[in-house]
């Protein structure tokens, strides 16, 4: 197990001491969280620390070279022109420049390979892809919430980079109204409600699921190894369902910052910019509420960059990156740059939503770590080096922020490794071939 984790986890005494306080640990927070969360804000009701949360923001098509890398490294850096919009959050963010995706002689599947390395640390062979980093993290911090993770896409349909073992993709929710029903619909139990009566139907569903458990499990004996992995994934999904039922049968611990958002009207969820903009805003609000209400601890946002399209234009953002001429005077592609600015504004808006939910002295953003990644640093020529990466949030004090870190020539997977370790995934190394790394970005660790 990695040092950081060991250092903070190894003390068995701490665990025992923790449990001795009894109530402190009955909040539905895994032990791991409680330990790692030394700097977090404590819950007024119980004294237990609020758990850390994790998020990914995948925004394709990169930035313009020369317009985003800050001129100085370390703390106190100034955002370059394309990242200026992040100034209000500079002290809760990091900008990481210089890293690469390595192809190791494999063909470059443009706009695919980069994502695979960013999310899974490797270019998969065949269709059986490994789990993505957010899934690994969700398996550690998301096992006791109603939703192990929540995926949304802004104008990207049901596409998602959140993968589990056994070729299962956690599909994105493209519609805010559906996400609202899924989280805050009839099955939502308000943690702050005074009265609690378990629903008889929920209790019955739980018993019925137990009654057929062995019958289902039997199928494992009848299939080969590859299909076993796929069935394991099915059973792991069923466990989330069982977990949801068991949570619905208990009175949830109060979460003072939790408020239920107002109902969401149905919206159009295509890749047209006005629809995407509207939906991004609602998604941000819903995810902030879901995190504050303890419904999930992992959120994955996929900005459907490639297909995004301004009304009345013949081109999508993706086709513009390849086909729009560079403006001689400006030195960049103006319409592409419009899209980059538009997308960055969506990310800022998301951060604002998370930061607006106050929890004691901090905010939801303060106990989160969000990893921002992209597929190509410069989409016009499909470059795979000098990649922009950002982090946002302070992970309850585990993540140091306010820095520009330059890692020239290093594998981008160093960030994925660092984030997983920070969230308690027991990993020494991550990635494959040249994308494999054991070098944690220690500058980021508090």
């Amino acid at each position: 197990m990695y040092d950081l984790v060991t250092k903070k986890l190894a003390s068995r005494r701490n665990i025992l001491r923790g449990t001795a306080y009894g109530a402190a640990f009955s909040v539905g927070v895994p032990f791991l969280d409680c330990f790692l969360d030394g700097h977090g804000t404590a819950l007024a009701a119980t004294g237990a620390a609020l758990p850390v949360c994790f998020g990914t923001w995948y925004q394709g098509l990169g930035f313009n070279p020369g317009r985003w890398i800050p001129s100085t490294v370390g703390a106190g850096f100034k955002n370059n022109v394309e990242l200026k919009v992040f100034d209000p959050f500079r002290d809760k963010m990091n900008v990481i420049s210089g890293t690469k995706y390595f192809l190791d002689g494999r063909p470059l599947e443009t706009h695919t390979t980069g994502w695979q390395i960013a999310s899974m640390g490797a270019i998969p062979v065949g269709v059986n892809t490994g789990p993505s980093l957010d899934s690994q993290i969700a398996d550690v911090i998301g096992t006791r919430t109603r939703f192990r993770s929540i995926e949304v896409s802004i104008g990207g349909g049901r596409q998602s980079f959140s993968k589990r073992a056994g070729s299962a993709t956690n599909p994105s929710e493209p519609s805010p109204a559906s996400l609202y029903t899924r989280i805050f619909g009839p099955e939502f139990k308000d943690p702050n409600a005074a009265a609690f009566t378990p629903d008889a139907m929920t209790v019955a569903r739980d018993s019925v699921l137990s009654a057929v458990k062995d019958e289902r499990r039997e199928l494992m004996k009848a299939v080969g190894a590859a299909d076993k992995a796929r069935l394991e994934e099915y059973f792991s999904s069923v466990r989330q369902l069982e977990n949801q039922l068991s949570l619905e049968m208990q009175k949830p611990d109060p979460l003072p910052a939790c408020t239920v958002p107002g109902t969401v009207e149905a919206t159009k969820d295509g890749p047209d910019v006005p629809d995407a903009e509207k939906n991004a805003k609602i998604f941000g609000r819903l995810m902030a509420h879901a995190l504050a209400c303890g419904q999930t601890r992992v959120v994955n946002v996929m900005l459907g960059s490639n297909g995004l399209h301004s009304v009345g234009s013949q081109q999508t953002w993706h086709s513009l990156t390849h086909e729009e001429p560079v403006d001689d005077k400006l030195g960049y592609q103006p319409e592409v740059t419009w899209f980059i600015n538009w997308a960055n504004a969506r990310f800022v808006e998301f951060l604002k939503e998370l930061d607006s939910v106050k929890e004691g002295q901090g905010t939801v953003l303060d106990r989160m770590a969000i990893l921002w990644q992209t597929d190509h640093s410069y989409a016009r020529t499909h470059t795979m080096d000098a990649l922009p990466i950002m982090t946002a949030g302070k992970a309850g004090g585990r993540l140091k922020t306010g820095m520009h870190i330059s890692l020239p020539g290093d594998p981008a997977t160093r960030l994925g490794l660092t984030m997983q370790q920070m969230m308690g995934v027991p990993l020494k190394t991550w990635g494959a071939l040249s994308n494999e790394t054991s070098k944690t970005v220690t500058e980021l660790l508090a």
């Binding site: 019958e215 989330q240 949801q244 999508t316 020529t381």
Partner: protein, 576 residues
């Protein structure tokens, strides 16, 4: 259940009658003249023997829906959303053997299952659906629960339940009844649990030693039944097919042939043929297709739905109703049209229904000299392979090569500038052809564009939403080109060139067999054999489906690892 059983029995009679009629009215010259020839050209069976791995395929959304509607009637509402499918080797059917079910997916399956189950036990339906009544509606009832679960289980699991399985579902119904103080609520929860069981959601297969191939394995009779029904009907086996499995008839060539004949003669074959072409043509991509409504105001959501339906109707009418030649789908002037499509095709469609009524379909034939003809000129093809704001000769050419001719087009290389293709203001390059020609002066790009562009440019008379045009920015559009050495000047002639291309039928053989088996078929001898048979039958698709369904390879599986083989073959057998 009564309704289902009586419905099936009634349908069986209809099928039998229809089968007879179809057999009589079939084009006998083709059937009798070429069928024996095809049989006699058959290669020695061992030369084409191509066993595959056992697969575990996830039901597609359509298959799930078809099964539910077959068992419980078409008025049952599903009201959920399925997990996205995975395209592998160009087909979702192949990807279905690679996918699993995620947490978000199981939530949806669970929700759908509970909705379906509650409709079945609903007061209005229960007497019709269920054959028994509990002694006391407020308590558990073993006997009635067992009767229902055994019947439903045989259809959903596509084989009889084992004693252990049945007991689990009876127990589930009982605990549910006790907790809710209602027999029907308990039964409903037990039904819902079966509907989200992996044994229903995944099509697993069981192998047994194959007496016809020493040392080889084949699917057991129930696995054969499901393989047949999902291929030919895109749904689970009906009672007659399960009966044939139970009686052992499916273990004989004659028994398989009888069932295949019955299934091919059934009107449900249309469902199977449609399912293949929806997968083959990639119509699932319509789900995420958008058109800029300011540029293409006529391309509404309804028009997109109608466009797919138009192509499917064209294909089904030609291939099933008229027992036509597959290659004619690229040249036929016959199609079907709605008012919504009429607006794009600029054809006046008179519809006498009141405003707001669903579009009605009318048969339509393009005049002989019309530039339209064949599915390549239909909106579903030209619009699907175009970005939101314009047409794309490259995307269309690539789709034609890859989907219809089975030729792989490599991905574009890195570090390429595309500026010139975009710059529509350049007075030198007014049309897509001008711009692509300029772009293809780059030797890195030229190789691929040479094989994609000429065929894509032939469809430039159709804009990004499929409407006809003759000029782009005032310049006349030149649609001439060549396909594998055959020159053409119009889209109609391109259709003829595709019709005559030898890759056209062999590509269908390759994709249809991969679709049937859930894996790409690479055994050259078997493919060659199927190609010969397809040609001998005058390229009739149902005949090709029959050849695949009746071939040994449809059921032949590889000897699995010893332990898995034992597990696969033995317990299921014993339990039954």
């Amino acid at each position: 259940m009564r309704s289902f059983l009586s419905r099936t029995a009634a349908m069986a009679l209809v099928f039998a009658a229809a089968g007879g009629l179809l057999a009589c009215s079939a084009d006998t010259s083709k059937q009798t003249a070429s069928a024996p020839a095809a049989k006699t050209t058959a290669v020695a069976k061992d030369a084409v023997y191509a066993p595959r791995q056992l697969t575990m395929r996830r039901l597609s959304g359509e298959q799930y829906q078809n099964v539910i509607h077959d068992v419980f009637g078409p008025t049952i509402e599903l009201g959920g959303r399925f997990e996205p499918d995975l395209r592998v080797n160009g087909l979702l059917a192949v990807g279905s053997g690679d996918v699993s079910i995620t947490a978000a997916g199981i939530e949806q399956y669970d929700l759908m299952a509970r909705r379906i189950a509650s409709q079945i036990v609903d007061e209005k339906r229960r007497d019709m659906m269920l054959r028994c009544k509990p002694a006391n509606v407020a308590a558990a009832d073993d006997a009635c629960a067992a009767q229902v679960m055994a019947r439903v289980g045989r259809i959903l699991y596509r084989r009889p339940l084992t004693q252990t399985e049945l007991q689990a579902y009876v127990t589930a119904a009982n605990v549910g009844a006790v907790k809710t103080k209602s027999f029907y609520s308990g039964l409903s929860l037990s039904l819902a649990a079966m509907l989200s069981s992996p044994k229903f959601l995944f099509r697993t297969e069981t192998a047994e030693p194959d007496p016809d191939h020493a040392g080889g394995w084949r699917l057991d009779a129930y696995s054969k039944a499901q393989q047949l029904s999902f291929f030919l009907w895109n749904s689970g086996p009906d009672q007659l097919l399960l009966d044939a499995a139970e009686s052992g008839k499916l273990n004989t060539k004659k028994g398989v042939a009888e069932q295949v004949e019955r299934m091919i003669a059934s009107p449900r074959l249309e469902e199977g043929v449609r399912a293949f072409f929806i997968d083959d043509f990639g119509f699932d991509q319509f789900e995420t297709l958008t058109k800029d409504t300011t540029l293409f105001p006529k391309f509404s959501a309804q028009a997109a739905a109608d466009a797919q339906e138009q192509t499917l109707r064209t294909v089904v009418d030609l291939l099933i109703k008229n027992k036509g030649d597959y290659r004619d789908i690229f040249t036929t002037k016959k199609t079907f049209i709605t008012q919504e499509l009429g607006a794009i095709y600029k054809i006046p469609v008179v519809d006498t229904l009141p405003n707001g009524a669903p579009d009605t379909w009318q048969a339509y034939q393009f005049p002989a000299d019309d530039p339209r003809g064949g599915i390549l000129t239909q909106v579903a093809f030209t619009a699907l392979h175009s970005p939101p704001g314009r047409g794309s000769p490259t995307l269309r050419g690539k789709a034609l090569r890859e989907v219809l001719l089975c030729q792989k087009v490599p991905a574009p290389p890195a570090n390429v500038k595309f500026d010139i293709v975009q710059d529509t203001n350049n007075p030198l390059y007014k049309t897509a052809r001008d711009r692509l020609n300029a772009h293809a002066t780059n030797p890195v790009c030229a190789g691929c564009h040479k094989i994609i562009d000429p065929i894509g440019l032939a469809l430039e008379n159709f804009d990004g939403a499929g409407a006809y045009r003759t000029t782009e920015q005032g310049a006349r559009i030149d649609t001439s080109g060549s396909l594998d050495g055959v020159n053409f000047t119009t889209a109609a002639e391109l259709g003829k060139a595709v019709h005559d291309n030898p890759n056209t039928p062999s590509c269908l053989v390759s994709r249809l067999s991969a679709y049937a088996l859930g894996r790409p078929v690479q055994e050259a001898a078997w493919l060659e054999d199927l190609n010969k048979r397809f040609a001998a039958y005058g390229y009739q698709v149902p005949a090709l489906m029959r050849e695949i369904a009746e071939s040994d390879n449809f059921f032949a599986v590889k000897p699995v690892e010893t332990k898995a083989a034992d597990a696969a073959a033995v317990p299921a057998k014993e339990a039954r």
